[in-house]
Symmetry: C2
DNA sequence: TATTTACTCTATCTAGTAAGTAGGGTATTG
DNA sequence: CAATACCCTACTTACTAGATAGAGTAAATA
């Protein structure tokens, strides 16, 4: 299950990817636009900033903006950051491997085998999808209205 | 995350797939073999029986056995049964679709788009893997010792 | 430099759920 | 009829997601 944190994070990042990178967005405006509880979003954006995904500016005219190009921000990083490893079981994780206490021999464990495939399939999708590619696919469905 | 219930269920089913289908296995023996708390396993096997995956026999010489051929029992059914839909978000589920309250237009929602791909990738793996196919792949790694 | 704006950080609350336990009930078989 | 082994309900415990509160700090501008 994707947590609300991860979900809100992706929505907020997509919204930021649609804006000028030099023009920061305020928490309150983002929250209203994406229907996210403002204080909760605050926590999320702070986390994204500490991970180096966002940068912030304080004071009047301040807010958050992307720290790098949307084509270099991948969903895999965001989801792992809030929800931990992609693998359904720790013994199938690439980034946070942990042995199962109840498993005698991983090489002949059916659960391990199957879940490693699930992890690989998931990682292929999420580590292959950037904010930019996601945005361009959304725009294919509904092109932005020119001014 | 895969729940322990689902994980134990798969392990138990694989163990049963290795045995004669006419010779039931007792909860206690299964629990010992797979390192599962016996009372917890009892709950799990009962569930599998109610879903028609297992059949049981009471009294002396009783126990559990598979209700159908291992090639016709898919991991997708087992995982869904214990952990619910495969999709990371309800709006991406095929078997248990539910609209997001905070989503204005699903067709242009990046989260929806990406998570639908994750769900499809996961389903492809789990609905394509039967107990029989999983077992045969385990045996490729370590062939069973003949008597 | 005073004031406003807006991010920063820590603590707390609540409801829900996963994991496991307890114990009595019921059907079968020898 | 006695032993075996499944059947079923209820409960406990610990953890976590999701959210809220409020005081603190930095920056901009009038």
């Amino acid at each position: 299950m994707l947590s609300k944190k991860a979900k809100y994070a992706i929505k907020a990042l997509l919204a930021l990817a649609d804006c000028d990178r030099e023009e920061p967005m305020r928490i309150a405006d983002l929250a209203r636009a994406e229907q996210i509880p403002p204080k909760f979003l605050e926590l999320i954006l702070l986390g994204l900033k500490n991970q180096g995904v966002l940068r912030s500016r304080k004071g009047k005219g301040g807010g958050y903006s992307l720290a790098r190009d949307p084509s270099e921000i991948y969903l895999g990083q965001i989801v792992r950051m809030f929800d931990g490893p992609l693998a359904p079981v720790p013994c199938a994780s690439q980034t946070a491997y942990q042995r199962c206490a109840d498993c005698r021999n991983e090489a002949v464990c059916g659960v391990h085998l199957a879940m490693k495939e699930v992890r690989d399939a998931t990682a292929r999708v999420l580590d292959g999808t950037s904010l930019a590619s996601l945005r361009s696919r959304v725009e294919q469905v509904s092109p932005p209205v020119p001014l």
